[in-house]
Amino acid sequence: MNEKYYNEMELMICAAARIFEDGVSVSVGTGVPCAAVMLSQKLYAPNILILFEAGGIAPLLPSMPISVGDKNTMYKALQTTSVSDAMEMNQRGLVDYCFLGGAQIDMYGNLNSTIIGSHDNPKVRFPGSGGANDFASSAWRTIIVSPHSSRRFTNNIDFITTPGYLKGPNAREEAGLPQGTGPYKIITNLAVMNFDNDERRMALESVHPGVSIDDVVKNTGFELLIDEHIKQTEPPGEDELKILRNEVDPYRVVIGKKAQ
């Protein structure tokens, strides 16, 4: 490989930005998800409908929000409404994608952002679900961004904050969650993963430039489904980087951070 002309965060944002078809709707928070959606809006999906859980609907997003209800989330918005209204839009089936992170993730895409240790006496207390559980319950497809390590990618997750495929095939439907929903893709600093349609288990889709399948396997605490033809993730293009650096995140609020 050549010397990389981009960092891991930029790669993750670009890989995520390419997922969205024009005209889809996306529930996002702050950080990487927001950067990816802004990039997508400028390059691939000018008609993307962005919503924030505090009630900002279809803002023009002049720059990166820091809080999910701040001025950027309502700048030139087409509506300012409420948490329940935004969540009900998800619950009605109007939201195509949501975009989440987490401290731990298992092979079914279940996420922990609540605690490490036991619930009554946690070793680490994280902020909790926030809107993540609602989004992942009701949006059609969940996209997850995460640093990749075997500590984070583990089947011994301490708490399922947010549903992936729960215990596997049909488990979501049996739990009462809306039909046809669930995790769609996971983007890390090493690879892109998706989910097998039958087993609902995490499968490798592509490895990033300079990363081997073995690197991914070593950093994943459970068995990944890996078929014969694993592609390489398309690296960020010149256009993507230019717009990401100059327009989406000129102050490097997100792309200046480490991926881990």
Binding site: G69, D70, K71, N110, H119, N133, A175, L177
Partner: protein, 326 residues
Amino acid sequence: MDTIGELLGYEDPDKMRGFFRKKSKKLENKIKKLPDAVSEFVAESDYMAIGGFGLVRIPTAFLHEVIKQQKKVATCAFFTSNYDTDLVLINGMMKSVDMSYGIALEALGSPKVLRKYFENGGIKVTEWSNGALAWRYKAAAMGLSFLPVRSMLGTDTERYSAAKEIICPFSGKKYLAVPALYPDIAVIHVHEADMYGNAHIKGVLVADVDIAKAAKKVIITTERMVDTEYFRNNPQNTTIPFYLVDAVVEIPYGSYPAEMPYEYLFDIDYFKRFLQAAESDETFDRFIKENIYECKDFYEFISLNGGVERIKELRNLELGLKGSSL
């Protein structure tokens, strides 16, 4: 799935109907001074609901006064709560909380000393999602003891909540019933209010309309007072109607250091100082002492952090007047 979380803030809907029946529906002057509003309305056993969201439109001035008066609120909903619920923790009497998101200033980081309250097992947490807490307020606001929702199902968030599964009699589908949440007191910061409590909020409403309907006592803090004609001339200005409200407190910049949409941006430098102080008990105690206990009022607190000049900068940033960097 059976749930094992403690049920907090719930009341029988008929009991609450009896309570709401007795609330005054008169157009009465409800203006209070900040210290009086806190001392008269906040009780030690209260479940407190706080308006706003994240770093936006939180009733900071009121909460600082709660700390100053060392009111020991019994519990609270951590509903994408940041600095607001952090403050309520400081007086240190909480044993149980409803939590969907707390003890973190989103991307800015987490106040370490306050996280310890949870990590040393001193606080029992009932888990919820943001949607679930919003719907719990909405159930109460609708006069119902529960609402069916399609969140939390199948997760540990459900298991550690106090929700219960039910079956829809039409579709046969499983739903989660979330119980109504009736806070004892709600504090909501607004853009404009009149003396009777009619209040106008600009921008995102978060869950504040439902919170105002759900709570037993409602305190409005407002950037500015307006005449009632402001509402009578355009009744769509009324985000929260007077008959829900118990007291109105005028506090310009009352949300600082949080953002007041269309008025002033959050003070990111303050929050960074706050987070840094929260790295150790010692620095944190000093920080709270300086910024709250030793300030004779909220304006001394603002002065301490840059005063009216800083507010002007934050206003320019909010309105995009000088090439904001945020």
